[in-house]
Symmetry: C2
Subunit: 396 residues, 2 copies
């Protein structure tokens, strides 16, 4: 049976998830907004800075008084960075002023303290300043009513600082994608439960839920079911009822017996494929009660890498995250690859900067995957690579 | 006055914070462990896989029965991936077996279904398999008692998957650094409060707290005080009493009047400096009741960049995060720089991949900082750069 190209399934998942880009929004406090994505342009209700203030510790002057220097001028007061509006400056006088303090009406420049000498109530000014020097004008950073943070920005600390400087305390952000994660397999028990013969702890649910959270989405439900269609369907219904916008399943989609996901969803129109890739051949997409379902194989390495390849890029974009880092590395050894399969080999970066495959390619090697720090991607038409060859590297 | 080299202050902060590397630890559920750092080597109590199982859907055989092929063998049963221990395989027979199902005693290989043909209760095998083929041996991924995740690993989804596969439900991780953030300045009001003349919203506290959280530390206290020594001291005491391991302050450390941080901490041995950098000249370090205090200037851009330059690298390392990305870019235009100052210019990446300064260099431009996506770092001894010159770029 000819296998489906990876790119074809990639496009199918992307199309299935395209509706997710229409996001609801919610208003959150700035303290809770780190890493969230602005749902709309945020406008500053005030100008930044909100009043004309001094850029330096020094003396507020009328610039025409300091054209001819040196000049001695009487010191008539002091303005701190503190509440209150200072009295206007009389021409021919100066006031001491602190950084950030309001520049008084009548003054149009600040002479930094290092260009002055104070003796009693007289300030000797050694260097003149032109109008506007060391004065921060109202709105010189941002006028009132201007956009301080545009829509679609993933909020980092500097964005939250600008929102706070605008006097805002909350911000409208897109709601995270609500994802349900369902592990299938009669052999699975919840981690921590005693293992009987033939049983293994469910690791797919834990890994997929964490991978979902790591890219800013929200795990609204986690389920684990045996290979019984009614059980699976009940968990699917519960996920949809809980408001899941995307369901991820692992297991139950290959061509053996007891393939509960396939048996349930194929009659409902699921598209089930065997992809030209290793690991992760069997894959499916479906829609259940209008909710997109992306179905991964049950082997732990397969399900984790399938998420990374097909779903993570979509969720990253929705969370305003930059695409994952994909570079080219240099192989430290020769390797061979099965023709007609895109291979995703677990690998490590070596101290010399080269990359090497790590462990075997079998898809049950979950501890080996944990110890890897990169994936090496070998194209379908490449069957061998020499030591020193360039290879596509995905950072994990 | 000669200014202190940036590297000297950097080293002073690093030394001040060196005790933070001795971290307490806590045990958290796997669902809460994403992004946390393992405090100790984690050992798997079980072998991975925990029992010998099939890598394929196919037929479990005794390999010596399939040396001469084709061969017809009687099908005597079926083993699903489900609880229970299968009966031993009699030589000269085969059982159907699913991926992940236990390989019965007596069998030592699995023949994939695609190399077989079933007719009634007879399986024709077209291709032989040697002992061990398509059988996943107990512990072939990891033996029982071996380290599944070493100490010091920042837990990603694949690590949590391996811990769950080991039957674990929780993991010992280092406690996050407990940081207090204190903004000083009589001109500050809490964001959202009405602004009187001479007042601005406190943005430093919001931005620094978010920057602390963004690198995995914990904000244990946030405070904002006027330029009154007793108030500042009370907030410092409260932060230490709350268990802060690190205090960050903004404002109050330059040479003007009303410098509350300097006035309070210098008599207690604070080291106050003016650094050869722009923005962010005034900086200080102190120890208060045994707790390290790093003091930033009050201008919003200065305080945010000072955190990024001096404190963030230390917190990143403690959180197991990779160092921030620092690369070399190509300037799209000429620029000049003040001699004897390391300049940190806000900049943007242009569509053609070059970088350009963005907005002015004044340290009140908080909206301009928010709109920047890189910093351009100009060394102390460089006074001009041509268009096309290489420049150090820090991604924000």
């Amino acid at each position: 049976m000819p296998r489906t190209p990876v790119a074809e399934h990639e496009a199918r998942v992307r199309a299935l998830l395209s509706d997710l880009s229409t996001r609801a929004s919610e208003v959150v406090a700035l303290a809770d907004a780190l890493g969230r994505v602005t749902a709309s342009d945020v406008v500053s209700p005030i100008p930044l800075p909100p009043f004309r203030n001094s850029q330096m510790d020094g003396f507020a002057v009328l610039s025409s008084d300091v054209v001819a220097v040196p000049v001695d001028l009487p010191l008539v007061g002091e303005i701190a960075a503190a509440p209150g509006m200072p009295a206007p400056l009389m021409a021919g006088t100066v006031v001491r002023i602190m950084t950030g303090a309001p520049v008084p009406e009548g003054a149009d420049a600040v002479v930094p303290v290092e260009d002055t000498h104070v003796s009693g109530s007289t300030v000797s000014i050694a260097r003149g300043r032109v109008s506007g020097e060391y004065v921060r004008e109202i709105g010189s950073d941002l006028p009132a009513g201007a956009v301080v943070i545009p829509a679609g920005v993933r909020l980092a600390s500097r964005h939250l600082g600008a929102l706070a400087a605008s006097g805002l305390t909350s911000v409208e952000v897109t709601s995270p994608v609500r994802v349900a994660v369902i592990s299938t397999g009669s052999e699975l028990v919840e981690a921590g439960e005693p293992l009987g013969p033939g049983q293994i702890p469910d690791s797919n649910g834990v890994a997929l839920a964490a991978a979902v959270r790591a890219v800013g989405a929200f795990v609204i439900a986690e389920g684990r079911v045996t290979d019984v269609a009614e059980r699976f369907r009940a968990v699917l219904d519960a996920a949809v009822d809980a408001g899941a916008e995307l369901v991820l399943t692992s297991g139950g989609i290959s061509e053996g017996e007891y393939e509960v996901v396939r048996e349930t969803l194929e009659p409902l129109g699921a598209h089930v494929d065997v992809l030209a890739m290793q690991p992760g051949g069997p894959q499916a997409t479906a829609s259940y009660r209008g909710v997109p379902v992306v179905c991964f194989p049950g082997n732990p390495v397969s399900s984790q890498l399938s998420f990374l390849i097909f779903v993570e890029p979509v969720l990253r974009a929705l969370a305003g995250l930059a695409p994952a880092v994909r570079t080219t590395g240099v192989l430290d050894r020769a390797l061979t690859s099965q023709p007609g399969r895109r291979q995703f080999l677990r690998g490590v970066r070596l101290p010399d900067g080269r990359v090497a495959p790590h462990g075997g390619s079998s898809s049950h090697l979950v501890a080996t995957l944990a110890a890897a720090d990169v994936l090496l991607v070998i194209p379908e038409d490449v069957t061998s690579l020499d030591a020193g060859a360039a290879v596509e590297v995905w950072d994990l």
